[in-house]
Symmetry: C2
DNA sequence: GTAACTGCAAAATATTTGCATCCTT
DNA sequence: AAGGATGCAAATATTTTGCAGTTAC
C-alpha cells in the first residue's frame, strides 16, 4: 500500500528511496513551515550525507515538490508546494512570514498576495511577499 | 568641500576612506538597483580585497546605509536605503523587481507594498515584496 | 539487469577571523 | 598619536563534482 509520501514521489516520477521519504516526511510534518538546509540535516537525525540532502532538495525543487522562499538573511529556505504547483511554475501566491523571535518561517496559506500595479514596461511573472515580525507562537 | 558621499559616511560616523567611497558611489550610480556581493567586486574594477567588500557591506548594513533584499535564488543583494531609514529600522516599503532576463534588481520606488491582513496573533514588523519578471529594458 | 540514487572523497566557492600595517581624524 | 580600516594569510563553512558501490523498479 502506498502512503501519501510514496504517492508524491511517484507522481513526480522519482524513485521511492529512504532519504527522499525521510526528507519529504519532514516537510509534511513541518506543515507549511519552511526548512533551511541545515534544519534538514539536524532534524532527520543526521543520517544522511550532506550531499544527498543537497541533491534531494535540488531534485524536489525541479520537480516542483518544494519551492524556495526568499529571506532577508542569507539563508535559503524551502517549503512544500501546495496543489497547483507543477514543476517549474509555481502558483505560490501566498505570503511568507518570518518570525524574528523563533526564526521559523511560516506559509500563511490564507493570506494572498495582493495585486500591484507595475510601471510601464515591467512584465511580472512571479510574486513573492515576505513579512518579518513576531509569529503567533512567540507572541 | 564635502561631497554627497562624504556626507553619507560622516552622518553614520564612519571614516571616509577610499573603498567606502568607491562602493557607496557604485550604489548611488546604480540608482535604486540592487547589487550582489559579486557585482561589487566586478564593477569597482577588482581593486579591493574581497574581505574589505564583505566588511564594508556589513558596516553599511549596520549603519542603515544599505539594506538587503530577499531573493528566491540564493544570492544576497543590497540596495541603498532612502531617507527615513535609520540604522536597523527601515521603512523600505516599496517593491523590488528582479529581471529574469538581465538579472538586475530594481527598486520600484513608485510601487508601494499594499496592506495585507494577517491571521490572529501575527505581529508584522517589516514587509518585503519581490516580483520576478522581465524589466522594461529587456522587454 | 539497468537506470537511478547514495555515500565518500575531493574540488571549487563563499565567508569569517587574526594580525600587522596603513590611513583618517 | 590613537583608533579604526585595510590587506594578506589562513581558518571555516558551504556547495558542487566525480566515481564506485548500492538500490529501486
Amino acid at each position: 500500500m502506498d502512503t501519501q509520501i510514496d504517492n508524491i514521489l511517484k507522481r513526480s516520477q522519482l524513485s521511492v528511496t529512504g532519504s527522499r521519504k525521510r526528507i519529504l516526511e519532514l516537510f509534511l510534518a513541518t506543515n507549511g513551515g519552511a526548512l533551511a538546509h541545515g534544519d534538514i540535516e539536524k532534524k532527520t537525525g543526521e543520517k544522511f550525507d550532506r550531499v544527498t540532502v543537497y541533491r534531494t532538495l535540488q531534485t524536489f525543487l525541479e520537480k516542483g515538490i518544494i519551492h524556495s522562499i526568499p529571506t532577508v538573511d542569507n539563508s535559503v529556505r524551502y517549503a512544500m508546494c501546495k496543489e497547483g504547483c507543477a514543476g517549474g511554475h509555481h502558483h505560490d501566491n501566498h505570503v511568507h512570514f518570518v518570525c524574528s523571535a523563533c526564526g521559523n518561517t511560516t506559509c500563511l496559506e490564507s493570506v494572498m498576495i495582493p495585486e500591484v500595479r507595475l510601471p510601464e514596461g515591467f512584465q511580472p511573472e512571479e510574486f513573492q511577499m515576505v513579512i518579518t515580525g513576531v509569529c503567533k507562537d512567540c507572541h
